[in-house]
């Protein structure tokens, strides 16, 4: 999937969060790191159209996130840092079905899709569980499954392992590694990004480094550590 940032600026009344970012992303696994408040999450949100640029543009497979929002969102899934925000319905199966109604009007087809995505992430046994009884890692995997049922081509993860303990972090990491989808991962978990194809370092609203994971993470440790 091709993502093109063209002089993308994001401003709020308080500050300029992104300052004219221009970059083209086409790799399968892309990591974004940077200090808190640097603009990483804003950059990730631009890809899904959750944030639209104040000036400049962001295009996903040629579709402008401002003009073709619906088509962009159908292609780009988004997994949030806090899965509690993402889970709307109390039962896992119900939550995954939410949003699928239009894509798969047939109930059996819908159920099959839900079961297959939960099984893919190794959490098929959670289908009929209450989401509030799940562990942090299980919740994050359910949130990911809820994105996967919509069959996006690209998934953006905004700090998916930040709130997790080591075991759950490894589960989520394995799940991300196993996905055939393109992925953009915003993370402070540098180890997670080591095997990626490309890593961007965002600092003060600009891309300060853009390289292979080894080189970009070295730069990040030296300049932002």
């Amino acid at each position: 999937m091709l993502i093109e940032f063209d002089q993308a600026v994001v401003s709020t009344p308080q500050a300029e969060v992104l300052r004219g970012v221009s970059v083209t992303l086409a790799e399968r696994r892309i990591g974004i790191v940077g200090p808190n408040g640097a603009g990483k999450s804003t950059m990730a949100r631009l890809v899904n159209g959750l944030v639209v640029p104040s000036s400049g543009s962001v295009r996903v497979d040629g579709l402008d996130t401002r003009q073709d929002l619906k088509a962009v969102r159908a292609r780009v899934g988004f997994v949030f840092q806090n899965p509690e925000n993402q889970i709307v319905f109390p039962i896992v199966r119900e939550d995954l079905a939410f949003g699928l109604k239009r894509l798969a009007p047939d109930r059996q087809q819908r159920e099959a899709r839900i079961d297959s995505q939960l099984a893919r992430l190794g959490v098929g046994h959670l289908a009929d569980r209450s989401s509030h009884t799940l562990s942090g890692g299980e919740r994050q995997l359910v949130a990911l499954a809820a994105v996967l049922v919509m069959e996006p081509a690209l998934i953006v993860f905004d700090e998916p392992t930040t709130q997790l303990d080591l075991r759950n972090r490894n589960r989520v990491r394995a799940a991300i590694d196993g996905l055939p989808h393109d992925a953009i991962v915003v993370s402070h978990d540098l180890e997670l990004l080591e095997d990626f194809d490309r890593v961007l370092v965002v600092r003060d609203g600009t891309i300060a480094a853009d390289d292979t994971p080894a080189a970009a993470l070295r730069w990040y440790r030296e300049h932002c550590g």
Partner: protein
């Protein structure tokens, strides 16, 4: 995140269609106002208890749901007893308790999504008037159900945090962070719904 009332199961009540249960609840609710005799109302209350029990829900979970209501029932009983006598007070309390029991049985044995689907279907004919968007109303209902227990949990957490700071009796110290937290969470959930392309 919503703490569900629904109990997973395969009881006869679970197997009934959601629309049937809601319709029966509507009819029974109206019927309870026709009944005046405390004996019949006691029978209705007993029946609702049996229905709740038949869903397989743990007694502790039911207690958590209904304990707050006991104070309301007590107040209603005292008020009615004072003005209309003890027999009428008994009838009112039994009527309310039976209605709550029946409603609880329905929610325990029916998925939220099924309840919302029924509401959506029921509202569809009104869409022709152009005044109602059934899908949006159903989503609003789902979100309301989601947020009620969460707001209550947030309230308790803030109360504990403020009590730890010695601000337990200050209503402003409770309400302001609760409103801010609720609005922030509402914003985050709406973003998540948007991101899911719903």
């Amino acid at each position: 995140m919503m703490e569900p009332l629904y109990v997973t199961g395969d009881t006869p009540l679970h197997r009934l269609p959601a629309w049937g249960k809601l319709l029966a609840l509507l009819v029974a609710g109206a019927g309870l106002f026709v009944l005046r005799d405390p004996l019949w109302l006691a029978f209705a209350f007993g029946f609702s208890v049996v229905l709740v029990w038949s869903t397989g829900v743990a007694a502790a979970a039911v207690w958590r749901q209904v304990r707050g209501l006991l104070w309301v029932l007590l107040a209603v009983a005292l008020f009615t007893g004072w003005f209309q006598g003890p027999l009428e007070a008994l009838a009112v309390v039994l009527r309310v308790a039976a209605m709550v029991g029946l409603a609880l049985a329905v929610t325990l044995a029916t998925r939220t999504s099924d309840l919302i689907a029924v509401c959506e279907k029921a509202l569809r004919p009104l869409e022709r008037t152009g005044l109602v968007d059934a899908e949006k109303v159903a989503l609003a209902l789902a979100l309301t159900l989601r947020f009620v227990p969460e707001i209550w949990r947030n309230f308790q957490e803030i109360r504990e945090a403020q009590a730890a700071r010695g601000l337990g009796a200050n209503p402003v110290a409770l309400i302001v962070p609760l409103i801010v937290l609720t609005l922030k969470r509402a914003q985050e959930v709406s973003e998540a719904i948007d991101a899911r392309s719903v």
